[in-house]
Amino acid sequence: MNNDKLPIDDLFKRALENYTQEEPSNHVWSVISKKLLLQNFARLSIFKINAWTAVSGVAAAALVTAVILFSGQDEKTVSENKIAPQKNQTISQPFDSASEEEISSENTSTINLKTESSEIREVSENNTIVHKGSGLTKTAEHLSSKQIAEEQRMETRLPVVEKVNTFEATQEKTLANENVKPVVEQKIDTPEKSSNIVEKPQSAIQKTEVTQEQKEEGKGDKSLVETIVIRPDVQKEHNTKIKNELIQNNSLSIDSTIRSPKEEGIFPKKKTTASVTYDYRHWAVDIFTSFNFNSKKSEWSVPVFQNYYNFQNKESNAISNDFGLELTYKTRPGLVFKTGINYSTYADKNDMDFMYKGADTLFYIYIDTFWAPNPNPTPQNPDLYIKVIDTLLLYAVDSFPRYKTLNALNQYHYYEIPLLMGWSQKYKNIDIEILGGVSIGFLAGSNLWYYDPKKGFLQTEGKSFPIRKTMLNLSLRMTAIYNFNNHTGFIFGPAYRRNLNSIFEDDYPLDQRFNSFSVQFGLRYRF
């Protein structure tokens, strides 16, 4: 309180401090209400977008991290490929010798590899060494099996301790694309059938040379016999997980018999063939189904809703389901074109809160009279003419405002044709796709509430249904597909979608478009 106040100050303070003599106009609340509606709507949308953008961002970050991690593992494997193979160890190394000519740009090409190792030694009639297969080809020297195979050959040439060793070699090659050096994976296993399992494959190929002294002592006849069964049987078609990438089918088959250590020097040759087939499939056909959790932001101009005021619409996040067929064309450098057809169902919950009233408040009583001859004059009523009621019109219109809350579940069903292009790459079992483009949606059905400007009230679907039959959408998505096997994969990733035209027809006063941030979860089957 100020001490130097004067009586005039108090006069005005007393009179005006709680002045309530004048009321604001009725339209003030209407304006406030409309502004609050827009403000709430904007705040709600911003919140949703922020939340779902965060989810999408986390998903994208997870994908990028996965890509970095997986690509890092590949490099590590290559760099550590110098060591000798261990049991069940997978080795990868660059496949340097595959030149451009060898890897044909045709969809299918065959490379016949020069055979080097078809020599077979008969060491002993009684002690048979069976040697099945070794990919001793020119190319094989790049597969690190050359060394092993040569050692095997040495081994069979030289008598070793009497034992039966069995191991199996398989080769797998996966060529991602022509820009990336092919990676050769060589797996050496010891089959369980083996009677004397070799702990380490190289132990079976170690050289145990028999000294001249031992030969002279005659020990070589009995003890220096080894039966080695090498079963490459590398006649296995290795379909890579992505059919539209370069794949290699190995085919190696060697069946050799080594006998008689005594007859050293007799090396019958048996022709061994090896072939490597490369397939490149550009096309892939998938079917997929997925759930999308959408954060939808409607962009709409607020029309004048005749008969409604204080209109408030809270729109919940939508869930959409997709089921469809996709056709993918992939070029070598990872460029992808995608189209197909899918069936999408969107469902979003709308809580509408508004007031409405009918016509103006009216209450009519209308009585029309006329003079008519008195049909029955009496002494009490001798008049010749009497007043007769002609018309009695009575009506009232209830126009009291009513609050109404409408919980509507609006559903839209579309057939969509996406026209997308982008980049695709494979990292081990994971496909990464970044795609963008447009999709054309054809309305298949709907069940929703909408404002009918002709009637002035909210309606369900009717003759004047204003939903646009053909929609055009902008579509961006980043997808990771984890492949369980050659055919089935799990889909995950963020997506963005925007209506390029209003979901309502052009002559409808409300231009409403959805911006949708979504996270997609689903399954894919690749034929």
Partner: protein, 196 residues
């Protein structure tokens, strides 16, 4: 019927019914504030709209310390000042040569006069306030009715204390003159003489 707490929590949650109830309860009182600062009724309604929007949007910041109505009034006054600033770009303070000039306040017989002026209906007094120049009006409202000190007014309006005092003094003088004219027109000398 909502309690004050229900009103506040309803408004924080964005319930339209609570917002409407709050408006119905306080609109006329807040409108009285706006009328004191605005130049006309239309401007006052604009101030009221903006003020209520600000009240709703900052409702969650009300901590329950002090009176809720007082909190609303402060928002409404600040909003009125902001709107005056926006509309006029600058208050029409005649700073020049006035910062040290304070019109002497007449206090002689003022109490008697105030008894007489006390008969004037509030609507008429409101019109006298509305007729004041912006600078006078704002300072008089803040000082005489909102109970701000000159120092606070100076900070709020970015003017010196002396300017605030000067504006107040001139506003008082202006109002006295208007009230005298009013009385003399309606009930001239005799009534005043009676009072004396």
């Amino acid at each position: 019927m909502y309690s004050e707490e229900e009103l506040i929590s309803g408004c924080v949650k964005g319930k339209r019914s609570a917002q409407k109830a709050l408006y119905d309860l306080y609109a006329s009182r807040m409108f009285g504030i706006c009328l004191r600062y605005a130049r006309n009724r239309d401007d006052a309604e604009d101030m009221l709209q903006e003020g209520f929007i600000k009240i709703y949007s900052s409702m969650s910041s009300f901590r329950g310390q002090g009176s809720f109505e007082g909190w609303m009034k402060r928002i409404m006054v600040n909003n009125a000042l902001n709107m005056l600033r926006k509309n006029a770009k600058a208050f029409l303070f005649s700073e020049l040569n006035e910062s040290t000039y304070v019109v002497p306040d007449e206090t002689e017989n003022e109490n008697d006069l105030m008894k007489l002026y006390g008969e004037i209906p509030p609507q008429i007094l409101m019109k006298q306030i509305a007729a004041l120049p912006d600078g006078y009006k704002v300072v008089f409202n803040l000082y005489a009715i909102e109970d701000y000190s000159h120092k606070e007014i100076g900070e709020m309006l970015n003017i010196s204390e002396n300017t605030s005092k000067s504006q107040l003094s001139r506003a008082r003088k202006y109002l006295r003159k208007r009230l005298e004219e009013l009385i003399s027109v309606e009930n001239p000398k005799p009534l005043i003489n009676e009072q004396r």
